[in-house]
Amino acid sequence: MNGRIERAFARARDAKRKLLVTYLCIGDPNEAESLALAKACVDAGADILELGSPFSDPTADGPVIARASERSIAAGGGLTMTLRVATALRASYTELPLVLFGYYNPLYVRGTGKAVLAAREAGIDALLVVDLPFGHGDELMTAARANDLRVVPLVAPTSTDAHVARLLQHGADAGFVYYVSVAGVTGNAAAPLLEAAARATQVRAQTGLPVVIGFGIDGPEKAKLAARGADGVVVGTAIVREIENATSPDARIANVKALVSCLRTALDGESAPEAPHPR
């Protein structure tokens, strides 16, 4: 078992530190900058990278990430480019967990088994396929297990107890759970993070898996709030917005670094919760 993800969570627990997971839409604005931006995130304190592979029809995403996806695709972005960037990152960082984040069609069209193999060869540790609910992608699950990749399950405010129970039964090698803070798309500023933190704490206890909270975390205060109930937080839209708004490559790097450092500092003021129940 490669275990980068498990080790990252264990290290954070031991250091009583919250994990910071950062999302980038790879290819926005282009391949070279995405690679540089990913490194900037790591330099500024990101613990896990979510490499977003753009999709033409990102129905789970709000307008900011949807626009980034359009820009990326126009710049030649897609699964091939995302895996190329992953390969480059893996060459620089042997221990950094990389999560391939995307929609199912690009994997399916490549051939699910082939896509999973390619992801592993690119140094990816886990897959998060937004439109492949847990329990509905046997082919992907099987391929991922065979290649020692995690398939990260989502839990949403609308998730049933049965869903969480299934995670408990079958999710031992999920790596971690991604708790979606709000019924909505990415970038929802109204996400009820206190409630999310409370539910994430429950899910953590129920499943024995580490939990990160994502959706609607756009700054240090919200990051701190959400992190109270979880092992870490995911920040996506806020970073993508910096990339969209900055007017030069240097400004993009500087602004993303500043945001990630500020989130890092905020999270370091919070101490990690007790370890989830051992399984």
């Binding site: 029809d57 897609g78 069609n105 399916y108 069209v109 609910p133 609308t158 869903h163 019924a183 798309v185």
Partner: protein, 423 residues
Amino acid sequence: MPVDEKLVPAPMPVPEADSREGYYGAFGGRFVSETLMFALDELTVAMKDVVASAAFQAEWRELLASYVGRPTPLSSADRLARALDAEHTKIARLFLKREDLCHTGAHKINNALGQVLLAKRMGKARIIAETGAGQHGVATATAAALLGLPCDVFMGESDVARQAPNVARMTMLGARVIPVTSGSKTLKDAMNEALRDWVTNVGTTYYCIGSAAGPHPYPELVASFQSVIGEEARAQILAATGALPDGVVACVGGGSNAIGMFRAFMKDDSVALFGVEAAGHGVHTDKHAATLTAGRKGILHGSLSYVLSNDEGQVQEAHSISAGLDYPGVGPEHAHLKDSARARYLSATDHEAITAATLVTRTEGILPALETAHAFARVRDIAAILSAERGRPVTLAFCLSGRGDKDLATYLRERERAEKDPS
């Protein structure tokens, strides 16, 4: 050799969730974000418990009769048949199932009334819908007005422009038409935006999908409501001719009028099923919407079906002069009917559809919707194929899915263009 159970490795734990419910052969399923799963579960339960109940069926069917004007007639299109086949060697009879005579002018109302009625029973406070040609939007706005629910309709900006009469009707009906400016600004993008709204307001809002597409249970729910078309047509043609037709023909966008027509004949092995897709500028160009003819297997809008997508898995923009067929996906049951060869799918170009619409209007006095016109454009070929197979002229039952008032501006513009440039 006896197997020692202890030596057999424990089976890989495979999540038991879908157990193939919601699949048509290999196609269908439920490919949506976790947030929507409970709503689809809730809808599946409602489909089984409420829609199947005698009380619901009675209420819906009463509305179909007293409000929609069902049963719709089955017309014998004799002049059109002779215009397509003067020698009488290919077409024996051509019957038109007149969905254009439904209230609001298309088959879409059968489904919209069913779903809005269901939404009301489920206690939902708001209806949303996507629309391409505007027919489903008008039908949903109509059902929402009748049943007293607020309604928001997502419509691609390009479609808002080319289907102006339907935008006006929706507005008059009290619905809010929300223009969608992302992507290709057509039906696909309208559906993306409706899904985003639904995931955000999922507790209180009912998403009324307009075609037999989307995640389970929508394809089944929509097909069940549209099946009324084929049920009536089958009985009517038996009454008129004493026999089943040789073939059934319908246009295919997402596939709801076609599946509604096909279902009643599915078990009749002697009845051949034909769907006609939009070939836009031609299936060999990159401007078409012939998903079954030229697409590949993939996932779009919650189900596994055929999709127009490139090697990287990006969904391509479709093109059709008909807003209602301008969609790079298709309902999963059609994918299965194609792969199992139970149905055959052909396509017709923009130009062929315009020409066919003129012929139908002038031989039968019926102005068909542009969507329907695509299927008319292939009737001669379908009759040729089927009469060759059967060695005699054949009888066809054709689903005339809607009327063409909404398309008059397009028809007149294209005819004028053709007159100026007859090439």
